[in-house]
Amino acid sequence: MTGIERITSALVWAMAALAIVFLLTPLVVTVAVSFGSSAVFTLPPPGWSLRWYERVWTTRGLWASLMTSVQIAGLATAISLVLGTLCAIALVRGRFAGRDAIATFLVSPLMVPGLVVGIAMLQGFKLVGLREAWPSLLVAHVVITMPYVVRTVLASLSLFDFTLIDAARTLGCSYGQALRKVMAPALAPAFLTSGMFAFLASMDNYPVSIFFTDAWTKTLPLQMLQLVEERPDPTIAAVSTGLIVLAIVVLIIGDRLVGLRRLADF
């Protein structure tokens, strides 16, 4: 290696290290602040305390919004998994026209600004008379979660070798048994990882959810943002830390199932 190559190489690795620090900064800061004793977000904190975690229980609306978010995310993900997987099967095995266009269409909500989708749906729902917040949220969140399921399951199905099902059938399985014994295990990782990321996407969504809220129904991000604006204190950091822990768990499960490298496949 020449001198230039050595310097460039060193610079690149230095940038990679800096990037790691840069990307993890918000997480580290959040966790640090949540355990700090000060109500003002000074870092490093003057002391350590768990009181913000206690406050999570007592802060009005926080627990309720967490429940709302979890319910909506869970249901929306479940619906998306069912509809999305069926559709992915049809797209891979079917022979009808427009399969590429349909796939693009199903993934398109990722490319459209969430705010625009939210506004459009708000006006659309009002038009058909849907005014209650909770059902509106659910209907909207299926749209949010669907692309994650379709994209991942479709990619996984395209890689699946369907002759394996034929092989199973020649070895004595019925069609249904073959599907269960051969395809389901192969598909399970994609199913689970897409479900997990869809769930997280729904839990974290703001731009769509902001339009479907009322006094009793708020998703967690909305509640958190409201707290930030009204009464900022490290309680929010405590909630955030909980979400970070959840994300880490999801990541570990995802790594065990398919490996980190595959999760990074865009």
């Binding site: 997480l27 800061v29 079917g94 600004p113 729902f125």
Partner: protein, 277 residues
């Protein structure tokens, strides 16, 4: 496949497609339609009115300027990191992958809030820059464009790195070796081998980041405040605070047009690059 089998497959696809058409596509088309419909039929009056207002131009300028800078910074930082990631092994690779994916699994509210803390006058960046002598006194980066660009870059950086990374991964390492044995200097190899082959990733990543920067709402709300309006924050405020649905739907449609344009341009660019590859 028999005709019967063919029909059955379509039925499987129908629920998902029908759902999205009814809940997502139709409302979007309705929104679009209404924005060009006036009392006398087709009209672009909403848009001409919008662009007649100099405030609107400031908003557009803010939006595009911030998006441009975020994309540029993300590209400058992200490109070398993507290359490092493709070459990394062992612990470094794991760290990089985790640093990419973990923040993606966490909501934007958490990250924006954390950056609020970091950008304060007594925040870590300020402390660090004072300690290293670059700043003479602590300053706040909060409520500045620089702070907004920094925070947005932080949130969107994985979306620049991952597409480039996935393209770099596919490049045969023997290619740069071949270039070297043919007498090409390291810079020449970069310009003529690595750069052209990574171009699809650059286009893809830049399109993602630019699009997300244009439509980001939470990050500017928390990091720069109300006196600095972007298209997205204006849209949000129109609906939620000002109760001005007309303005809100106009800006929403403009956002949509920009988003669609980015997809169209980047797809066209990718095809052009793909043809010469």
């Amino acid at each position: 496949m028999t005709g019967l089998r063919l029909d059955r497959m379509i039925w499987l696809a129908l629920p998902a497609v029908a759902y999205l058409v009814i809940v997502y596509a139709l409302p979007l088309l309705w929104l679009l339609g209404r924005s060009v419909t006036g009392p006398d039929g087709f009209t672009l009056a909403q848009f001409t009115d919008f662009f007649a207002d100099p405030f609107s131009w400031r908003v557009m300028g803010n939006t595009l300027r911030i998006a441009f800078w975020v994309t540029l910074v993300a590209l400058v930082i992200g490109y070398p990191v993507a290359i490092a990631m493709a070459r990394a092994r062992g612990l470094m690779q794991v760290l990089l992958l985790v640093a990419m994916i973990l923040p993606l699994s966490i909501g934007v509210v958490v990250k924006a809030f954390a950056w609020q803390i970091v950008l304060r006058r007594d925040g870590v960046i300020s402390q660090g820059l004072v300690a290293s002598g670059i700043w003479s006194e602590p300053q706040r980066l909060l409520f500045t464009e620089a702070g907004l660009i920094l925070g947005a870059t932080n949130v969107f950086l994985p979306f620049m790195i991952l597409p480039i990374y996935s393209v770099v991964k596919l490049i045969d390492p023997r290619l740069t070796e071949a270039g070297a044995t043919l007498g090409a200097s390291p810079l020449y190899r970069f310009r003529k081998i690595l750069l052209p082959l990574t171009l699809p990733g650059i286009v893809s990543g830049s399109a993602f980041v630019f699009s997300m920067s244009v439509s980001m709402f939470v990050i500017p709300s928390l990091l720069i405040g109300d006196r600095f309006q972007t298209l997205a924050t204006l849209t949000g405020r129109s609906y939620l605070l000002m109760r001005n649905e007309a303005l809100g739907s106009t800006t929403a449609v403009i956002l949509l047009v920009i988003a669609v344009s980015i997809v169209v341009v980047s797809t066209w660019l990718s095809k052009r690059i793909g043809r010469s590859l």
